[in-house]
């Protein structure tokens, strides 16, 4: 596979690892952004242009800022008293390792079954638009309702009630 894939994969994994292991939470959020950017480039590698730009716009543009704001609002940037990891971190690690083992085994052992068409699909925004309006119009409407309700829900949940504890 191309060198670009390995390079970007290394950056993404490094970003993800840093996001999980760093002590200061804001550094974690910034490392997360690097991971998102790496993934966006992977999407472009896979010729999914629209998804790649949407990923940059939605994740780096909005979700990263949201996470960083949440960190600041909950004063997460000061280092916590106890350790950064929960007491039962070995168990968590073991479960994650097992999951990775299962996934890895499944991927590697199914080389024959996996499709491998190397034809480069050319996707134009027009096709995506038609697909959105044609075949996927129902999910589009559901997403619209979901996003509105999430918007209102998040505002109500995080809103500052007048009478409650300051």
């Amino acid at each position: 596979m191309t060198i670009v894939f390995y390079l970007i994969a290394a950056i993404t994994i490094a970003g993800a690892l840093a996001a999980m292991l760093l002590k200061s939470t804001v550094h974690c959020a910034l490392a997360l952004t690097i991971a998102f950017a790496g993934l966006a480039v992977q999407f472009l590698e896979l010729d999914a242009q629209f998804a790649g730009f949407a990923q940059i716009l939605v994740y780096i543009g909005a979700v990263a800022i949201l996470v960083v704001f949440a960190i600041l609002l909950t004063r997460g940037s000061e280092a916590p008293k106890g350790g950064v990891f929960s007491k039962s971190w070995p168990a968590g690690l073991a479960i994650a390792a097992m999951v990775f083992a299962v996934l890895g085994w499944a991927v590697l052992s199914s080389t024959s079954v996996l499709p491998n068409e190397t034809a480069k699909p050319t996707v134009s925004v027009l096709e995506i638009g038609n697909a959105l309006m044609g075949r996927y119009v129902l999910p589009l409407e559901i997403i619209a309702v979901l996003l509105t309700s999430a918007l209102i829900g998040a505002v109500i949940v995080a809103k500052h009630e007048k009478g409650s504890a300051k």
Binding site: A19, M20, V67, T74, G92, A97, I143, L147, A165
Partner: protein, 107 residues
């Protein structure tokens, strides 16, 4: 073993690694926000899988994989917003985001 892996399997392995890292983070970190970050990573890994299968799948012109990934990006953004709203709300009452201390149902 690693030598003759196909392109699709490379992406699937990368997604598996990201998923495992996200899961490890979500399980081991104490700060609620970092658990959410872990979940975001897992979602992204799933997106990568979707698009990898779409790209190397039999007929990519059907656009199913990519549309699914775009919808999942939208849903993940909404989920992140609500999740962080909840974290801020909990913080307002318990003054802490440390998951270890959130063991009381009061409030």
């Amino acid at each position: 073993m690693i030598g003759h892996v196909t392109a699709l399997q490379g992406y699937l392995l990368l997604a598996a690694v990201l998923f495992a890292i996200g899961l490890a983070g979500a399980l081991t970190r104490r700060n609620a926000i970092l658990v959410l970050i872990g979940i975001e990573l897992m979602l992204n890994a799933a997106n990568l899988n979707l698009i990898a299968f779409w790209r190397y799948g039999p007929h990519p012109e059907a656009l199913t994989g990519m549309m699914f990934a775009i919808f999942s990006i939208a849903v993940a953004a909404a989920e992140a917003a609500v999740g962080l709203g909840l974290v801020i709300h909990i913080y307002r009452f318990t003054q802490t985001t440390d998951l270890g201390q959130m063991n009381r149902m009061k409030g």
